[in-house]
Symmetry: C2
Subunit: 345 residues, 2 copies
């Protein structure tokens, strides 16, 4: 008379029937509500569940509880490109996954081609929360209560004033200031700022301001040496090739290591020696810095910290409804390697 149980999926009901208890009891056991069930029953239910290979259905649970233990990681992505163009972004993705897993959350990784997709991505899976990585401040700023609904959101590297997305970022201002001061201390005066186009708010803007601040600190007039380039090796390389023809300079601060490495190589190919003729400082402290020649002096971001802090802000927000009023700034430091040297007389 024993019913042939379906091979498809073991349900709570089946476990309950086999164990001769109610579904609720099994549910309580599975969820560790050990206070509500007698030790004997716990053991029995546990055993039967294991035997049957019971795995709870996340969708059913999520439908019933309106929570999912799912966090979305949203990354901008042109439709054609793979997402995560930068090594820096890639590294953070991995760190976030680990951190979330530690707390029993799962990660939904999602490339977002059009800003409108954010709302859909956020709500369709009833995400408990989401982390925005690498979006423009403007895009982050445009997020409203309406679009994100009940989802808790944290933005990484955003300077948007949006209260809904308060998150973490490195101290970009201090980092650039450190870099420029280092160069200034070495006697450099004609220093180029190389980075992507920027507006009045955002990571690059901060770095630009910090860069200028170092000059002000030293009471030195700020040379208006700026080159706008995308953050890629290729564009850096191209720039490096013509840099000496275009400007009379002795040092370069690039807003990213990749860019800096490209510049160094361009310079080298053009017959300009680094650091003897021109010093170069990057930003990020990718592994890459140690692999190139000369090893790159750079501003180190503590991405492990940045990622784990972002996650803990998010989880506090989800679980306790608390969140910092202001974004959390992660300290940076200068790592001196071989691409900088005193200016030549």
């Amino acid at each position: 008379m024993s019913e042939r149980r379906p091979r498809v999926r073991v349900t709570l009901r089946e476990v309950a029937e086999q164990a001769g208890v109610s579904m609720m009891t099994v549910s309580n056991v599975m969820n560790g509500n050990r206070a509500r069930v007698s030790p004997g029953t716990i053991e029995k239910v546990q055993r039967i569940a294991d035997e049957l290979g019971y795995v709870p259905s996340a969708s059913a649970r999520s439908l019933a509880t309106k929570a999912s233990r799912l966090v979305g990681l949203l990354v901008p992505a042109a439709d054609e490109d793979s997402l995560m163009i930068s090594p820096h972004t890639m590294a953070i993705v991995g760190l976030i996954e680990r951190e979330l897993r530690k707390y029993g959350y799962h990660l939904l990784l999602r490339g977002v081609a059009h800003p409108d997709e954010v709302a859909e991505a956020l709500r369709s899976w009833s995400l408990d929360g989401a982390i925005l990585l690498g979006f423009l401040d403007e895009e982050v700023g445009n997020l409203t209560k309406k679009t994100i609904g009940a989802v808790h959101v944290v933005a990484i590297d955003s300077y948007s004033a949006n209260r809904l997305t308060t998150g973490t970022r490195s101290d970009d201002f201090a980092g650039a200031r450190l870099a420029a001061r280092h160069l200034l201390d070495l006697g450099h005066r004609r220093i180029l700022f190389a980075g992507p186009a920027f507006s009045g708010v955002g990571v690059v803007h901060e770095r630009f301001e910090g860069f200028g601040q170092a000059f002000a600190d030293a009471g030195i007039p700020h040379p208006e040496l700026v080159e706008t380039v995308n953050t890629t090796y290729a564009e850096g390389h191209e720039l490096g090739l013509v840099l000496r023809e275009r400007h009379d300079l002795t040092a370069v601060f690039a807003t990213a290591d990749i860019l800096a490495v490209g510049i160094v190589h361009g310079l080298t190919e053009a017959g300009v020696r680094v650091p003897q003729d021109v010093s170069v400082v990057g930003f990020d402290d990718l592994d890459l810095c140690n692999y190139v020649t000369p090893k790159l002096t750079t501003v180190a971001q503590d991405i492990t910290r940045k990622a784990s802090t972002a996650v803990s802000i998010l989880l506090d927000s989800i679980e306790k409804g608390e969140r910092p009023k202001r974004p959390v700034t992660i300290d940076v430091s200068l790592v001196e390697r071989e691409s900088t040297a005193p200016v030549r007389n």
Copy 2:
């Protein structure tokens, strides 16, 4: 008398009520079952849904249909580490996400610390499918119908005979053979194979066999020059430092670019010139190869192809129940750069 609708979530029912039609009609409209609904109704329902900001609940749908349009990407991860240690792995993750999104699937990224977690990870979210990336052949081989249930699985870079996980991999044998032949053609004879420990099956084993094959092809006795090192820059560097003391060799084939770069640097620091004294060939063709000095000669894997093929195998399996009997092998090619040169007399 108009009911205040909850701010929490717009449901199908609400849209139906507002539109004065049944839930089913709305459902049909939302799912593009346009044949079953009159044009006028379609337009009306669509408009109201947009106004209300309706977003379907993925959990509810998934619960009802037993499908989720969710694919898991499983990557091994020691509990302490971030996952995705290698740049190669990181790049593939991004490519897979893009490919899945193109077909309307979502990606659940999951680090797996203990093999047992695979089953749980696979089934709890009623994943339609999963991609295994970077697991040992042994772990892949151990997967049974019981543990993976109804989930379609594809393994990348696996040489396991497991029919349940048939996937894609680069032609590791041919790649190593290409590398060795290149070195042989340059006149090298004492060539070291540097890579991680391996058993009788798997990526590294294939590369080792391909390496040996090139010697056989040329009718040259195979020198038993092997060093076992983990695939990291640090271990490569360490090895490079002592290589010349330990072996009388003129060339090295490393099973990964990262490793090769470390070796080159170790060699250089020890006063051995690359490629004048020793030639080095890597494997993967990471961007990194172009950033180091000398630029690294290597075997290029077509990871874009590897990723997109893996996805299309998976989706065919999910949607049509068809899958290749044998793993799909992706062609590789040799990229000659600056780290190899003719052997010196």
